[in-house]
Symmetry: C2
Subunit: 445 residues, 2 copies
Amino acid sequence: MTHTYMANGFDPQSRPELEPEDLALLDRRQRVLGAANRLFYQRPVRVVRGSGVLLYDAAGNDYLDAYNNVPVVGHGNPRVAQAVGDQLRVLNTHTRYLTDDVVAYAERLTALFRHPLSQVMFACSGSEAVDLALRVAAHVTGRNGIIVSAHAYHGTTRATAEVSPSLGGNNPIPAHVALVDMPDPLRDDPATAAADFERRIDDAVRLLEARGHAPGALLLDSVLSSDGLRPAPTAFLERAAAAIRRAGGLYIADEVQAGFGRTGAQWWGFAHYPVEPDMVVLGKPMGNGMPISAVIGRPDVFDRFGRDVRYFNTFAAGSAAVAAATAVLDELEERDLLASATKVGGRLASELRAITADDPRVAEVRATGLFLAVEIVAPGPDRAADAGLARQIVNGMRDRRVLISASGQNENVLKIRPPLVFAEEHIDRLCAAFADALAATARPA
Amino acid sequence: MTHTYMANGFDPQSRPELEPEDLALLDRRQRVLGAANRLFYQRPVRVVRGSGVLLYDAAGNDYLDAYNNVPVVGHGNPRVAQAVGDQLRVLNTHTRYLTDDVVAYAERLTALFRHPLSQVMFACSGSEAVDLALRVAAHVTGRNGIIVSAHAYHGTTRATAEVSPSLGGNNPIPAHVALVDMPDPLRDDPATAAADFERRIDDAVRLLEARGHAPGALLLDSVLSSDGLRPAPTAFLERAAAAIRRAGGLYIADEVQAGFGRTGAQWWGFAHYPVEPDMVVLGKPMGNGMPISAVIGRPDVFDRFGRDVRYFNTFAAGSAAVAAATAVLDELEERDLLASATKVGGRLASELRAITADDPRVAEVRATGLFLAVEIVAPGPDRAADAGLARQIVNGMRDRRVLISASGQNENVLKIRPPLVFAEEHIDRLCAAFADALAATARPA
């Protein structure tokens, strides 16, 4: 085992059962990429090509990808490939020259938000965009305290790792960051969950003030993915936003996971709630894998930061990344993938609930659009998290060539989050692999 | 004027002389990108395509690009475009699956460094890579103090902005960061410059220790670009590295500017000196504009960090970015662009020196490979920096369709840093535009 736990991480001390040429590649990789670059699964998957929701290994076997949200409009998407290749032949430059493409894309993107969220700052990765949003919030509020969820993940720069308690040991959470427990759909009293959550935010505000770090931002993943996907009571985000604003801070919606239709019907996760963020962070699926991310904000906020602080990100919104992002919007709209996420995700959730209804090890199937969580517990009234069983299922499904992962504070929540081109025809294969993998584990008497 | 000064920045309060359709685009841009996204030049350049060292506006006029180091193997490079477009059709995925391409590229890249620098961690931008290197250094040394040059620029995340004093006002430098004045080729005594510099590093070590932040890293751009390009005395980096190691810290070479042949003959700027860094940060030209960056390090350092800390960067070394980076190495090698940088840069420096030899406003022409600095001063024995004249020259050259910029602590150093495909045939045009722009300024009696 490695020193720090990672759900679904390959143990580099082990010798997996793989083809000889895959093992040879693994050895070369360990030499040059070392311990810092971790692989998925007890038996890592060697991937050579992809198409739609399928990945292929060197022997030509296909894997159903029910994990990767980045290739939102499909692996090997020809429209994205064409747009990027064409753009690279013409021009790939930065935003310090006047170019048409980035202005047109920025207009189209901000039109997907309500007034006064009408401006955009670009970056390359979700980490960079969250890092920037936190810098902006600290600058315009004059307050450096930050409130995040108890098992949040927001990125990999120093500033974003500091607000990512899910990274576990050796990733210290500094005094200017306060953690709040999220609503727990399994254990909360639904009648008081939203009010209880608001009270916890107020407590975090007081804690930060007592430490001399008045809160400048509440940063929340709109679907709480690393917390195990916890669609919250309706009033939840609204009350949380009100609490941070009372305290003089801004509410930042991290839509890196939820954004671009993942949650179905709406473009953004927060849009399911009666709430408007002060800033919104976008990432992962934005360019179907081309590195591009963004912060959406109000002109008064960005103008203040932009006038006072010099900011420039060389690669951000480079012409090729903008071409990819434009093609992604085209595909999402023309293929009606937001509606599809609602429909396919809903049916997949129903099927999973049906096949696990009598299984005490499956506490709950949660879903928002095409993001599904299956909470795995030890049988019994406590419904205690069972990370070991979750790991067995993830690896059992991998051996059946269906790719998912696990997450959550106790690493016991199966994470099913396929490209949005995942269609009804793929549901049976996923459910069969899940049922088989579950059946293959030792079922309690 | 904007609140914070930016050399060569467009003033959004001004109304530049541009074509009506360019002004219309500018207005749209200001609405959606606002003050936080700044343009170059008093009259921003609207770019619609590029080829080699040339950029073109909508009317078909060409601009000689003597500024952009990112498109190192040329704007619109067909080999890079083909490689990326092809790869996007096949696969564009992350490093948690076993893939051949990233291993092969990592082997090829690390082979350009000497033992024990044999492992790589990837990121998307130079900022992310510097941020990561600083996290690694702090973790493995247990010390969070950082020493950087007095006018350093290292990035745009919070942690890298904190070590970037060149960002100026409203970008506070915290107590764990100490600044050292760099060697000044115009004003130092050459006999003592290296020893004086080493003493300043020792002073910075003591300052950090006194503040309770023992130094974990000395981070230096190998060509000191934002300090105004100051090729240092031979012993300079060697003594600096020795000083930080005595204090228990690591020497990190920031090669985002210097790397991939920019300095001529050598792949890396530090390779001109008898010194081995503990970590090396790579960025900008690595993918010819496709976002990819890296930290090169020793296995003992990365293993320690990798075992203790969970790190993953979704977009880092995605298949398409690796395809671009591989094509860049192919182009640099097959077109012998490292040797070309030496030859063309040397001739360009000679020409610039020849045409300014009798001009008291040009204090010095410095060059390392195809990175040139022309220091502009007020005539007289003090040779005081003249930022206003430097700005006039930059904008005068832009009006003559030759693109350069300005940098340095006093913003008076012309920065000439073209793609490495800049060839001898382009020298005359650059020099003519420079001479004309200089002549058009009011020359002192």
